[in-house]
Every structure is written in structure tokens, then in C-alpha cells.
Symmetry: C2
Subunit: 382 residues, 2 copies
Amino acid sequence: MRTLAPFPVVEHQRVVLEEGLTLDCGATIRPLAVAFRTYGTLNAARSNAILICHALTGDQYVAERQPVTGKPGWWSNLVGPGLPVDTDRFFVICANVLGGCMGTTGPREEMTDEDGRGMGRPWGTDFPTVTIRDMVRTQKKLVDHLGITRLLAVIGGSMGGMQVLEWAATYPDSVLAAAPVACATHHSAQNIAFHEVGRAAIHADPDWKGGRYWEDGRIPAQGLSVARMIAHITYLSEEALMRKFGRRLQGASAVTFLEDVFQVESYLRHQGSTFVRRFDANSYLTITRAMDYFDLSQEHGSVAAAFENTPTRFFVASFSSDWLFPTSESRALVRALNAAAARTSFVEITTDKGHDAFLLDEPDFHRALGGFLRGAAREAGL
Amino acid sequence: MRTLAPFPVVEHQRVVLEEGLTLDCGATIRPLAVAFRTYGTLNAARSNAILICHALTGDQYVAERQPVTGKPGWWSNLVGPGLPVDTDRFFVICANVLGGCMGTTGPREEMTDEDGRGMGRPWGTDFPTVTIRDMVRTQKKLVDHLGITRLLAVIGGSMGGMQVLEWAATYPDSVLAAAPVACATHHSAQNIAFHEVGRAAIHADPDWKGGRYWEDGRIPAQGLSVARMIAHITYLSEEALMRKFGRRLQGASAVTFLEDVFQVESYLRHQGSTFVRRFDANSYLTITRAMDYFDLSQEHGSVAAAFENTPTRFFVASFSSDWLFPTSESRALVRALNAAAARTSFVEITTDKGHDAFLLDEPDFHRALGGFLRGAAREAGL
């Protein structure tokens, strides 16, 4: 199995599971590669493992330098020695999602036939449609492979939070504690709409070539960049944008009637152009679609039914200025968990930083999550 | 002067003002064509004229069939015989904005040299940058041309509301009553950001050709369509999207892993594809930029200073679920008007229809605006 798409190729730590995985759509992927990173030490009882699930454009490098960008891990303010997710105490696992582009099987990786033989080309848009549950099944195989029967906790924000919910619903006996953060039990019509516009921008880029851009080594950079710009606006709040940029002009001291006159514009364009260097367009299409399909109540009849008599304890967190996954959706989740007799705690963090807040230094959030994990560890006899 | 861009050419009623207009950016456009429509009859005293200002993608066909789309006028539920803007009583004027694409001088129209001679090609991206104030100056020339010294009222929503504010600030003695609806005194960082992504989508379309798409008769349909899709989401509310589409699937009875599976996606794509048949991409770039530049306090030192001792009476209206121009921005306007000792009334209409509500059947809004206009008419001795 090789990574074939036109990208800087990075060697990722991964396991290759020969038995593969049969997906919700009916297709089987064989073999199944899962790229992952671990931090800390698994104890003898294998009872101190915490799985972290990443968001749409995240990856497994949660608490260390990301090898492509050279930037710190995306949750390195939360995960590490002495931090709320304390790697001196817990064994932390983070895997690249199924359909991703950082080493786990996805559109960039070499396509395999029914017998698992490499076909000398990447999957591209022939990669099957995957769901959040397929991502979770993939992680379960990794966790099994590592010899862990029950996770102390599963934690994630945004799409990572969807995976947390799916973990608790699908494998209740394997999850002692679950922390779905800044997420919802389904993707809203507005969120589907924003995703669809991003996909339309990728489809509109002639370099996308119907998904076969890997044939000539080009990437649909402009379309993917526009998709990222749209998404990035939804991650911030109006207040955060105003505080960061206001209506400040870029360079010029007055309205000069040039392009990119406002700082917010240069910032967004920069976000778009750096993103395309690290992310695969077909992965973006695959993963946004998985988020759109996510709907726990459609899967289980109702959200409460998904968690009926669950042994898992829950920590639900939302952020007051998050308009992508507003607090009202977390409250609805909490109501359903209560109806399912689940042990549930809920915090809404007051912040003006929007959806992005789950990744930023939010002391109240970090303290609350740290306390929740200490409680779970006590229950596990750690 | 001719319309040269690759579009179905429609003959519009217009005046051609040979003296032209000098713009905020310093350039002079000569001659200046203004396409407009009128409804009702101007009285002998010329005291019953109401000017209506249209929004970003609107036009002068406010109360009659739009000649390109064949659809009813965009405010035909508000403007007409016996309606709140009563054309049995008032003389209603609506002009296509400067930089537009429905007959007023703009990127689609034939470029002219310094002496006003046609150059045999459209302006395209050589059309100078315009401001909301330039649009209003253009309308003032039309109103002067029609022999009207003082308007009974100026009314507009969204970008139309920006023009209303600019009218009252620039020509206070020419505006007896002003109704800025669903707008703000400046364009927010988030709104600039959404506009910028739309422009990036147009720029990314190879058929845009740096703005010279008129050379080979093609239009940047995909980029303009994506821009429209982005904007359209911001015109609706999450509640409106959920009510209209929810997570209902398109055609299929279950999650089928095809493209365009959700109804909201087909709807958005349809919005995008119909828009490109009626709107010019370079006009879209020009007008969105004018909105971004709009900032009354930057122009006048403060919003209150813009209206100090104004004789105009104001009616400010906002819509509770409008997140593009939220009520908080209308409240800030009202505070500034009060500080300027202006006669001001304010209504927030409770609705779940988002920014779009200003165009829809909102009886409370229509009643309140109708009452305001009757009051203004009484003051004018009508």
C-alpha cells in the first residue's frame, strides 16, 4: 500500500489490517491501513487508554509537531504531560480518520481490488462513501489491535465529537467516559449547505478533473482554497472577526480601491492557500459527506434510544458563540442523554471565539474536562 | 452607449446624463446612463415621490414582471395599488444601481473614454471602483432630472438600506422620510469575509479570464454560481432551512451515497445556476466591494455626526432571525439617530425567515412601514 497522490509524502506510523472493513454502503476495503500516534504509556491492566478523535481537517498529530506543516499538534494545549489530558497518567491514542489523507486508507492511498491487491493508482473519487460509524469501526479495529478492551475515555470536538457519540452508541461497553465537544447529534441543514458550497467550489475547479487530478500531478488548489475559506468563516464568530480584524485596512491607510483591501480578506486567502498544501481535495469531499450523513436519531430511531441504559458517563461541552454547532444542539443532546438515564454533565463555556474555541486556550473548558477525566479515572480504579 | 457583455440584451427605460459623474475614487464616468422604472403619478406639487433602492442582486423592476426571468417584481407584495407603498397615492421610482447590470452604467456597458466616446468594448474590470455614495449621487441626478426637489421617502432593504442612510446623510433636505430596513451603518468583518469568498470563487473560474470573459462570449458561470450559493445561505436562517428542507433526502428514500442527496443541496445548486443567467460577474465584484467599503462613521467621524440635526424622520426595521444584518446593528443605528436628535421609530419583526424576510410577506413589517409612510404623507400635506 502506497500513497500516490501529488503531495509531499510523509511516512506515518500505521497498522495494516489485512481483514479490511465492510462499510455502511456495502463496499469492503481490504486491507485497511490506520495511521495513528500514541502518547504516554499503557498500564499493565490496559485500563488507562484515552482515544482522541479529530475534526474534519485534523489528523493524528494531536500533541506533537505536525510533519507537513511543522506546527504544534492541534490539541497540544490540552494533551501532554501535566495537562488536562495528562500523558504522564493516561495512554493517549489518536488515529487519522478513514477517508483522511494522513496515512489512513483514503482517496490518496493506493486503490485495492476485491482481493486486496494494489492497482497502481490512488482511490480518488472511486473511494467508497464512508460514514462517521465507518470511521469509528476503523478506530475500534485499531483499539482491538492494541489489545485494549475498554477505553477509559473517548474525546473529540466538532466531527471528533460526532465520533465520540457514535463510539458510545455502537460500543457502549468499550467506553467508560465520553466527551463530545462542540458538536451535535446530526448535521444541520445550514451546515450541509455550507459543505455543499465548498464541494461545489472544488467541483468547479477544472484542475479537479472529475476527481482524477492525480493523473497529471496537479491539485485543484483554487477550488479547495475557496472551500476552506467558506468553512473558516463558520469556525469563527462575528465578534472574533471584529476583534481580530475589524474593518482594518491591509497596508493602505485609506480606502484605496485595490483588491484585498481589508485584513480579513488577506487572512482568509492565506488560510485557503496554506490549507491546500496539506489537505487532499478528494478527502475533503469524502469527509464532509460523512459529516452530512451523520444523524444518530435516524440510525437508532431517536437519540435517547441510541443511549438507552448506557453504562458510559458523558461530558458535553459547548461554546456560547459557536454558531456552527450552537449550544441549543448540545442542550438537545443532554436532554436525550437524561431521557436515556445516562450520567451526564454539561458545560457551556462563555467565549466570543466561535466554534474554533474548542481548539483554543479556554481555561474553563480545560479545567472542566480535566475534572471529568479525573473522575472517570477514579471510577476505573486508577 | 450599448450593452456589450454576453447576455440576453433587454431594452431598459433609461436617461443618459451627458455631464457624467465624478466618483469617490476620483475617476469620472461620462456619459452616465441610469435605467429606472416608475409607478403611479407624480402630483402637480411634485411632493409624492418615493425612491426605492434595491439590494445587491436586485434591479429597478420592483413592482412588475422582471424582463429576463419573467418573475414578479422583487417587492411586488409591498409596492402597488392599495399596498403599503401605495402607487395609487405615491409616485414610486426605482433605478438600477451604478455598477449594476440592468441598464445603468456598469461593467457590462460600453466603456467610454475621457471625452465620453464609446470604445467598442464593455468596461469589464476596468469599470472604476464605486461606493454606496456614488450610487446615491447617481440616483440624485435622476431625481433632479425628473424635476423632484424633495423625496417624500427613500426606502430600501439590505444594500438598499445602506443607500437610504447615505441619502439621508448626503442630501438631508431632499429626504422627508427614510426607511433603512435590514441593514447597518457599516459592513461587518464577517460580511466582508463572505463577500471575499464569493469573489475568490469568481476569480478562481478560468472562464472569468481576469475579468475579460466578454472577449469570447463565455461567462464564469461556475464561479458566479458558487458565489451566489454562499450568499444565499447567509440570506436564510437555520430555522428557515430546517423548515424548508430539514435533512430530507432528494428523491432517494434512504441514504444512497450519491451526489446531491439532500434537498437543500439541489435547492442551492438551482439558486446558483439560475442566478448566472441574469447577473453579470463583474457587476457582482463591483457591487459587493461597494458594500464592503460602506462605513458611515468612517465617512462622517461618527454615525451621529452623519445625521446631526437632520430634518429627516426615520423608520428603522430589523428581523429577529437575520444574522447577516442582526438587530443589534439596527439598534446601534437607532442609538446614533437618537443621539443626533433625529425623529426615529424602530421595529424588530419576529420571524424565523432570516435576512430574506425583508422581501417576504411579513404583515407586521408591511403594516408598520405603511403607517410610517402615511405619517410622512400627512406631514407633507398630502
